[in-house]
């Protein structure tokens, strides 16, 4: 039973993992983007339309990534260059995406394409217990594993990462050292939108194989919470995404076993855990970028 919960959690968690990394990079550069949900919706619908019409999933994912980035570009233009308020602009971009995808996507509701197939990794997938959990998934889940390493490498081991983190902490220092901090922020937001778009695409064409209006059901806001839960760390962002996935799969698996669960308590558990994590984070030293707090005020 635990195996099934964990395996399911990894799959669902991947829907959140990629947008979470996107938001992590964005916030590390000192910008909070609340329109993750919007980028995910745009990515989900665009990927579905493209994959459905061309029959090519790679095109679908590319188009989804592009659509997610487009929403982020609207957000970034207003926030970085016009210095519009981040939280308000984020919500606006979410509303815009929700409206546009619902209107355009209406006629695609109920249509279907096949879900991504499971690819067992030779050798690894036959390891008892762990093989089931980690190595019997579709290709995007494996891409997620790579993304964990890649994000960590990018943020901590490269000069680009240093500049991104520097922008989030002290913009002036970055500007003085000859880089334009606003361009760094713009690029970080675009990268975030791209990953959110891929996450949305994975939701529609990878996981469930169809489009439904507002199908993200608030997962984009959970992404923002996950990043805060992690204390802006790569490892805990990954853990948080998978944990959230597991809470969803646990709700189903426990019920399927005939075990009584309080559905509403279980549903609110991830939020409560995140709150507790925030409280605990005050005791350890949180990695909240210094520029982030300033950027949120009115």
């Amino acid at each position: 039973m635990i195996e099934i919960i964990l395996a399911g959690g990894i799959a669902v968690g991947t829907v959140l993992l990629l947008p979470s990394f996107g938001e992590l990079v964005t916030e590390r550069a000192g910008i909070t983007n609340l329109s993750v949900e919007g980028s995910m919706l745009a990515g989900a619908l665009t990927a579905f339309i493209v994959a459905k019409t061309t029959g090519n999933y790679a095109f679908g994912f590319l188009a989804g990534a592009f659509a997610g980035m487009l929403v982020a570009a609207v957000f970034a233009s207003a926030v970085v260059f016009a210095r519009a308020n981040q939280l308000a602009t984020g919500l606006i971009c979410w509303f815009l995406s929700l409206g546009i995808t619902s209107v355009i996507g209406n006629s695609y509701n109920g249509q279907a394409i096949h879900q991504l197939r499971q690819i067992d990794i030779p050798g690894l997938s036959s390891i008892p217990f762990f093989g089931n959990i980690f190595f019997q998934h579709d290709v995007v889940v494996y891409f997620g594993y790579v993304a964990i390493a890649a994000t960590a490498w990018l943020l901590y081991k490269t000069k680009t990462g240093l500049i991104i983190r520097g922008t989030g902490e002290r913009r002036a220092v970055v500007d003085v050292s000859g880089h334009r901090s606003s361009l760094v922020q713009f690029a970080a937001v675009l990268a975030g939108g791209l990953l959110s778009g891929v996450g949305g695409a994975y939701l529609s064409i990878g996981q469930v194989g169809n489009w439904a209006s507002d199908m993200t059901n608030g997962y984009g806001f959970i992404v923002v919470a996950i990043v805060a839960f992690s204390g802006w760390r790569v490892s805990l962002t990954a853990l948080g995404s998978y944990l959230f996935g597991m809470s969803i799969s646990a709700a189903s698996v426990l019920q399927a076993q005939g075990i009584a669960v309080n559905q509403y308590l279980l549903d609110s558990l991830p939020y409560i855990i995140t709150l507790v994590a925030l409280i605990l984070a005050s005791r350890t030293n949180s990695r909240q970028p210094e520029g982030l707090a300033d950027s949120l005020s009115m």
């Binding site: 006629s107 469930v208 194989g209 169809n210 199908m215 969803i248 019920q255 399927a256 669960v261």
Partner: protein, 336 residues
């Protein structure tokens, strides 16, 4: 209506009927979708009236209170509510209509019971509302008719349309050995898709999705609102609405030959023996006084839900709060 008109489910069925109404001579139809179940619907109805509408069909349960209040305020407009149930007196211009949904669901259960190899059926529902409980119970009772060993496993999603949770529900049930799925959700595509990927069978609800499900399709229940809506419109046009059967709680049943929830088409894997058994049962249900819920029926804990020799009325079914024997799982309301 509450959702999208293309959800392959409840709302699309209503949209289809509306499209058919348009074809009636001298009838023009305006529709509105994605209206929340709040006071906002009053304004929607008012706007329809301003646009000259004389008959309004309010097609979601949550509109009930507002529809009734609207009818009282506008005696010149006839308001019909889909799925509501009014105790007490009716204004002369108000009625509710619905169908005994559990009847075709039980027939679907028969097909499921026959098709399962593991004796485990899965039912994905959204919230523990009376309609869902009645459908789950009917599904299990139907399955037991063709397969006494069949058990129905439950998972709820706490959302009428959350594809992520639907997929997890099917995965979890499948891991438990379930090989036939049914559901009570607003959108059913994900459940069908995921079951299909697992080579499991599906029994649909709301809408005939045999094309989408392909070889996984057993059968299902599909709304066909056109006949009753047409009949209501005709009655009103003839000026005979007041005091008619529609100026009340109208419930379509097999027994009256007018259940708006019909048995959908059969999938290719359903053999002729099963088909005829289901057709025979449908005939039996079509006799006066027949019901899916004919006693004795027992709850999971062994208490009697319907006493031997008694038949549950529509009101009884609306107040069912227990799951019948053979259902595995608990309702959230009884689990804390």
């Amino acid at each position: 209506m509450t959702g999208s008109s293309h959800d392959s489910g409840y709302n699309e069925a209503v949209a289809d009927a509306a499209a058919n109404l348009k074809k009636m001579s001298g009838v023009s139809v305006i529709t509105a979708e994605q209206i929340p179940e709040t006071n906002a619907v009053t304004d929607t109805m008012q706007q329809m009236a301003d646009q000259g509408a004389t008959i309004i069909f309010a097609t979601s349960y949550g509109y009930f209170k507002y529809a009734l209040a609207f009818a009282k305020k506008h005696p010149d407009i006839t308001v019909l509510h889909q799925g509501g149930y009014q105790d007490g007196t009716f204004p002369a211009n108000f009625g509710t209509y619905w169908g005994a949904a559990y009847e075709p669901v039980a027939l679907g259960g028969m097909a499921a019971g026959k098709a399962t190899k593991t004796n485990k059926l899965g039912f994905v529902y959204a919230f523990p509302i009376a309609q869902s409980i009645a459908n789950i119970d009917a599904f299990q009772l139907g399955a037991a008719m063709t397969n006494p060993d069949a058990k129905t496993y439950l998972v709820n999603t706490s959302s009428w349309c959350d594809p992520v949770k639907q997929k997890e529900a099917v995965n979890a049930l499948s891991a438990q050995g379930v090989d036939v799925f049914s559901q009570h959700q607003d959108c059913q595509t994900t459940v069908i898709q995921t079951a299909k990927a697992k080579n499991a069978k599906v029994v649909g609800y709301h809408y005939d999705a045999s094309e989408l499900a392909g070889s996984s399709w057993l059968t299902g229940s599909a709304w066909n609102w056109t006949p009753v809506m047409k009949s209501i419109v005709t009655t009103i046009k003839q000026g005979k609405f007041k005091g008619s059967k529609y100026n009340a709680n109208w419930i379509g049943t097999f027994a009256n030959g007018d259940n708006p929830l019909e048995l959908a088409s059969f999938g290719s894997s359903v053999d002729s023996g099963t088909r005829s058994a289901i057709k025979t049962e449908q005939k039996k249900l079509s006799e006066k006084g027949a019901s899916v819920f004919t006693g004795p029926i027992y709850c999971q804990d062994g208490t009697e839900l319907v006493k031997a020799g008694e038949v549950a009325t529509y009101e009884d079914v609306n107040n069912f709060s227990c799951l019948v024997k053979g259902v595995v799982g608990t309702l959230p309301s009884t689990s804390d």
